[in-house]
């Protein structure tokens, strides 16, 4: 298919930025990997990776940090997406957490901490990754407003705040010593609207949980939780109620709150988004 080059606009510029960042890091790092949570931002990041290296497959594996408490729909889309992209899929489960038998119902915050924090330490050590693509956005959570595109970690996996480098123009310095690693944020300058709009324009597959449907739910502490599988321990007298819900963000299902919504299509979700009066992270019990 031959087509005219689109004029540079909002999304095409963000797209070109992200592609440039990915190609630079792949060229300078020895063993990169892409974190893939199967959520909407991950879906966009994976799509951009396909574009960046076409007709080659992206020259790095995907890594899903699987807490084993993901929504069932996540697992369904995950394997298909990796296969479609022609990429190796590494499923990382935290052996330590598995042994302790940690779970979100009993351990709440600790569950998230152990999984999400330890993942960053175990994964580079176990697989020798020196650069990790991460879909975090600067305007997603307020603490990220000053994150650089390339964030440097010491060999002890600490954010080496003194070792952070000035980023001029689009000249990324990805040189590191043995044992050190880099977090790379190719979507740093994207907003939530950009993500949704890009999914719409590029027709990217996302987990159906983002769209409203009748789902079994219980209400706890003002949050709507979805009863996703039989592991969900119902409290005495608690009976799941079918409600039309969707999710703005997807974490472990026992910790992720749903919104009551009728927006069953992408376009309806976008429309509802801009009528929404709460910011994105409010739906999650624990920010991560």
């Amino acid at each position: 298919m031959t087509q005219m080059a689109p004029s540079q606009n909002n999304l095409s510029e963000l797209e070109s930025d992200a592609i440039e960042i990915m190609r630079e890091v792949v060229s300078e790092a020895k063993n990169p990997v892409m974190l893939y949570s199967v959520g909407k931002t991950s879906a966009v990041m994976l799509h951009l990776a396909k574009k960046a290296f076409f007709p080659s497959s992206p020259p790095f594996p995907l890594m899903h940090v699987d807490t084993t408490w993901e929504f069932q729909e996540i697992y369904k889309l995950r394997d298909k997406a990796a296969q479609d992209a022609g990429m190796e899929l590494i499923i990382h489960q935290n052996s330590e957490a598995m042994e302790i038998g940690i779970n979100p119902f009993e351990h709440g915050v600790l569950h998230t901490e152990i999984w999400k924090a330890e993942e960053l330490k175990q994964a580079p050590d176990n697989y020798g990754f020196d650069a990790t693509f991460d879909g975090a956005r600067r305007n997603d959570v307020t603490s990220r407003v000053s994150d650089r595109i390339l964030s440097f970690r010491s060999a002890q996996h600490r954010l080496a705040s003194r070792a952070q480098r000035p980023e001029l123009w689009s000249l990324y310095n990805a040189r590191i010593a043995a044992g050190e690693s880099i977090r790379v944020f190719p979507l740093a300058n994207w907003t939530e609207l950009d993500i949704w709009q890009y999914i719409y324009i590029e027709r990217i597959d996302v987990v159906p949980l983002y769209f409203a449907a009748l789902r079994p739910t219980v209400e706890r502490d003002g949050m709507l939780l979805m009863v996703d599988d039989e592991r969900f321990p119902l409290e005495q007298g608690e009976i799941p109620v079918m409600r039309s819900i969707r999710f703005r963000t997807l974490g472990c299902y026992p910790l992720t709150g749903a919104l009551e919504s009728e927006a069953a299509t992408l376009i309806e979700v976008i429309q509802e988004m801009f009528l929404t009066t709460t910011s994105e992270r409010q739906g999650r019990a624990i920010g991560n």
């Binding site: 606009n9 909002n10 095409s12 497959s57 307020t142 123009w169």
Partner: protein, 636 residues
Amino acid sequence: MKNQMYKAGSQANEDIDVYLDRNQNKSVLRFITCGSVGDGKSTLVGRLLYESKMLFQDQLTQLEEDSKKLGTRGQDIDFALLVDGLSAQRDQGITIDVTYHFFATQKRRFIVADTPGHEQYTRNMITGASTAQLAVIVIDACKGVLEQSRRHIYLCHLLGIRNIVLAVNKMDLIGYDQSVFEAIVSDYTEFATIVGISEHIAIPISGFRGDNIVACSDSMAWYTGLPLLAHLEALELEHRSGMPQDFCMPVQWINSPHSGFRGFSGRIASGTIEPGDEVRILPSARTSKVDRIVTFDGDLNKASAGQSITLTLNEEVDCSRGQIITAAAPPLEVADQFEITLIWMDEKALLPGRSYYLKIGTQMVSASLAEPKYQVNVNTLGHTATKTLELNEIGVTTLTTERPIPFAPFAKNRTLGGFILIDKMTNATVGAGLIKFALRRAQNIHWQPTDVTRDHRAQLKKQKAIVLWMTGLSGSGKSTIANAVELKLTQINRHTFLLDGDNVRHGLNKDLGFTEADRIENIRRVGEVAKLMTDAGLIVITAFISPFKSEREMVRNMMEDGEFIEVFIDAPLSAVEKRDVKGLYAKARAGQLANFTGIDSPYEAPENPEIRIDTTQTTIDEAAQIIFEAILKFGN
């Protein structure tokens, strides 16, 4: 405050397709705000975020609550909390940095780089300015144009920002007085003209009251220009890389999924390209024609500046990462020596002569800097003499690259004229530079080929030319061992030359002292002499302390592969200090000898030397024998 308008969003009833279409086609303006605490910069940025209706209800409620509790505005909303509230969380133990804010209006999308104003944060300001198309210089109307404002104006202009808006803030506090505003503007215009800024835009505002932010202020009817936001929306944008010009794309990545496809991936720095266009690969200067412009969404029949693409060429040509694909004519200049403006960004001062990595476009080369010609006083624009540049200092100097590179002056093209310098040992980004012009065109100095080659010369001597580079502390036995090795080699008819540290300082290097910069130059010259001698076919033995890894690496890189043999004469400091043959350690300890290696100047031990001699376990004769046998193994 009229909150209801934010609750529903003005897009509520709009057709979603129209909304998406317009949103997608919005242009992006990246700008930087400069000013300091007290100028009302945070209030202004907070006001822009608020006015753009990008806040959700929960954030708004939070803002109103915080304003009552923490604000400095009584019952009014304190917009600064939107910005500083974020900062407070951000700054937990982390250096003040560039922070980015995002907002959009009906017409345009904005990315704001908010940078701290004080001189010690020049590095951060430069970083924010490097990707900005416009700068808003915030001036407190009560204070006027301060030294600090002058610095901001100079730096923004230096970094190539052509659109500068002077926002004279807090007009409400001076009774919206036109004459005060005009005095400030006249002050600014005078300075801006010296800097080289031709277009002067100044807007009287009040971030707190909202005057001239979104709508024209009734309090300042005398102001006839656009309000700030309207100006930001209306500004005509050029591409971030600079002025329109010929096609040029640094090659980022070679795309070769199988033997039948070889593509060159990169982001177009300038110009446009179509299939069939003739292109030139630099620095090799080979030409070819574009076959296809390949993208995931299908082949394109045209691509232009800013797009990330993959090109295939008609003819098989040698092209790798770091090279540049450019329009065949007129070609880019290629050079290896430049006059540059340099901004130093590291706590460790610039070391003239030290070899750094230079990254420009997608290529990385070794490069070194001369002593600065002068340092720019960023407050007065005056020039002062200096031998180095410290953190945040700016100067003009000469840059020499290890091989010729294609470039464009920074004023013409940001991508091909802006570079960073990287410390080879720490990997830190230590400097940012702007190429002014080439001092020596590479094509003017040809390498004179000779009929008798270095291989001939070595063959005549029936040997392989090598450099045996001994490094170690003073008194470790380098000279004695070197002498013994040379003796052994001459006994089997090898042609050798011994370059000794002390001896060279009597002649070739007698102008050099022992400062870090002089030590670097000392080793550079010895490296060049050693190289000439290997060209002559000799086995060169050197005995220099050569304490820094960078310089030993520099000499290694001068030589052909396998020609540089690093010999680490490893003696513990305690042992050499105890022997102290020349009495130098005693002097250094007594403070009579400055910059003495091991005492008040570091010795960076080799990590992977070709040969290591442990002097605590080996006699001189044994050491000489080990090295001698190794030389035979290296092809002699």
